[in-house]
């Protein structure tokens, strides 16, 4: 069964304190890994797509990386507006176009 596990469940940072979020996955074959940001009461907002081990994508203070077993979302010098839940999702080879989501990491950045 395809599984996505995110850690930690919650993370509190001070503004400017860099850190990383982890997404480990077990799938029959990976067609793509996706990172989304979700604000309270809102829909997931697309951030990145990764496919190949070693691939990296960057956007402002965020950088996503991918290995054969996991993905990391690195947050450099975060600001309070980066506070949100970060979701990782995979598209397994057996799934067609469906996404399988992890539970998310709730990030709080204090000023």
């Amino acid at each position: 069964e395809d599984q996505v596990t995110q850690s930690p469940e919650a993370l509190r940072l001070q503004e400017g304190e860099s850190s990383s979020l982890n997404c480990s996955y077990t799938v029959s074959g990976l067609r793509g890994l996706f990172w989304y940001r979700q604000d309270p009461g809102k829909g997931p907002e697309f951030l990145f797509t990764l496919y190949s081990a070693g691939e990296e994508k960057e956007k402002e203070r965020l950088k996503a990386t991918l290995t054969k077993k996991e993905s990391f979302l690195h947050i450099t010098a975060p600001k309070p507006e980066d506070s949100a839940t970060y979701l990782c999702a995979v598209k397994p080879e057996t799934s067609g176009s469906r996404l399988t989501f992890g539970e998310g990491t709730q990030l709080t950045v204090n000023p």
């Binding site: 989304y36 829909g43 697309f46 176009s97 469906r98 989501f101 992890g102």
Partner: protein, 115 residues
């Protein structure tokens, strides 16, 4: 910037009633999806829809649920005989095509409360 639009933002219904959740996907997108998120739980796939038919559905999507594209812009999810456990946020999403790396864009959701 194009976006997926969902209405209503919040729906309260009596147990046993039927509800229809509405979505307007991004205009040039061809693949449409419904996901749900029960409070405090992960986002779960319900169904995908392409070329006026269901292309994939999860075990959650049983005979209680149906989807329809009644015209060129709307995409609906109907839930018959609602149950308390159907209370959740329902998200519509769309993607340009079915390429593995094609990202899905989500709407803001409809919060369904069954009382």
């Amino acid at each position: 910037e194009p976006e997926v639009t969902q209405t209503p933002s919040h729906q309260v219904t009596q147990m046993g009633q039927e509800v229809i959740l509405r979505c307007v996907p991004i205009s040039n997108h061809l693949y449409f999806y419904w996901y749900r998120q029960i409070l405090g739980q992960k986002v779960e796939f319900l169904v995908s829809f392409y070329n006026n038919e269901i292309s994939e559905k999860s075990e959650i999507f049983d005979d209680q649920f149906s989807v329809e594209r009644p015209d060129g812009s709307n995409f609906t999810l109907k839930i018959r005989s609602t149950k308390l456990e159907d209370s959740a946020m329902y998200f519509c999403a769309s993607s340009e095509d079915s390429r593995p790396l094609a990202e899905a864009f989500f709407g803001q959701g409809t919060r369904l409360t069954v009382v």
